[in-house]
């Protein structure tokens, strides 16, 4: 599948005007280099204690983030808080369906996030299209375009389910199994090909740190 669409060699940043090509990175993403076992375990523990989520409400799921980040469910006590920019965030919450237009922003935001980074996908729509399975404008599986670490079932998942999802994500991170970023680097060409297949006007850099 990937062979047919793969892009050879260094990134081309083909979508960009010539003048802008130099502004963006043209090296493919790298896999994370682990430190020694003990240090890595400590870092993973630390990472799990502070999940900073990107404040990008991509779909309906964003609505349940409000109660979560206010007093009733108060996610701050779990070390989770929203951040306004991808550069400061380590967790990307895909709030359900993603239209092609949003997918483009999802890809760019994801690539802008600093590693190690994790993705939580909410609801039916991210798993298999949900109720928009026959829509011309929404993708069906988010894992075709960016790697996902945890899925939370529901439409919408309630704040409590979201918390459960974050707890699961923490367990995954602590166990050192948060492989999304490496997965993206490993299968980068496959992801790019998939992305380019649905984002028809590819006027953005191929990789964008």
């Amino acid at each position: 599948m990937s062979d047919k669409h793969s892009i050879p060699g260094p990134l081309a940043n083909e979508g960009l005007p010539l003048a802008e090509r130099g502004l963006f990175c043209d090296a493919p993403p790298r896999q994370y280099q682990r430190a020694n076992k003990i240090t890595e375990a400590f870092w993973n523990w630390a990472r799990a204690q502070s999940l900073w989520i990107l404040g990008f409400g991509t779909g309906c799921g964003a609505i349940e983030l409000r109660p979560l980040m206010t007093s009733r469910f108060d996610m701050y006590r779990y070390g989770i808080q929203p951040r306004p920019t991808p550069r400061q965030s380590s967790v990307f919450v895909i709030g359900g369906y993603a239209s092609v237009k949003t997918l483009k922003r999802i890809v760019r935001s994801y690539e802008q996030m600093m590693g190690p980074k994790f993705v939580v996908a909410l609801g039916s729509c991210t798993i298999n299209g949900g109720m928009y399975w026959d829509s011309y404008n929404t993708i069906k599986r988010i894992d075709q375009y960016i790697p996902v670490d945890v899925y939370i079932a529901g439409c919408m998942p309630r704040p409590e389910a979201l918390l459960a999802g974050f707890q699961e994500l923490k367990r995954i991170i602590r166990a050192g199994r948060g492989e999304g970023q490496n997965e993206y680097a490993r299968k980068f060409e496959w992801y790019k090909a998939n992305q380019k297949q649905v984002i028809k006007d590819w006027n953005m850099p191929d990789y964008n740190w």
Partner: protein, 177 residues
Amino acid sequence: MKELITSLANRYGVRDWKDLKAGQAACFVDSGRLRDCLRWLRDEAGYAHLSFATAIDQLERGVFTLTYALRNHERGHSLLVHSEIDRTRPVVDSIHRLWAQAWTYQREMKEWYGIDFPGSPRVDEEFVLEGWQGPPMMRRDFDSLAYSDATYAERPGRASSDPAEHMKRELYPEEQA
């Protein structure tokens, strides 16, 4: 109301007046006189509020039906003004100077149905879609499911059986149709 119907008929050839329910009626006007009719309704008849404007694809008859929903707040009456245009040459007068938000509806109709409103601001810009290469997607001959199946990958591994077929297979497979 009688007066209004008569004036509309005399001035703009408005026809097929139909009272849909208390406080709501629909009527038809030729597309060439649509803009003047709407202006008159707004300025002289008190139908000053444009609720929405949209189109209906009558694929079978080869026309688009345009619908402009106006409301007269003083009389508490809504009027759906319809006009039909040829599906192969879908061009209508723009009403962006009558209502300041009308251009967004026209931009939407341009993108969704391919109906052109010459002179309307930004009418050719993409509205909700980005990089769309298919035909205007609200047209009835555009098949959303087929497009989705062809474009977006689905999670494999699903299969369903029809109860009658399954029972035939299980209970009387020897029978032929």
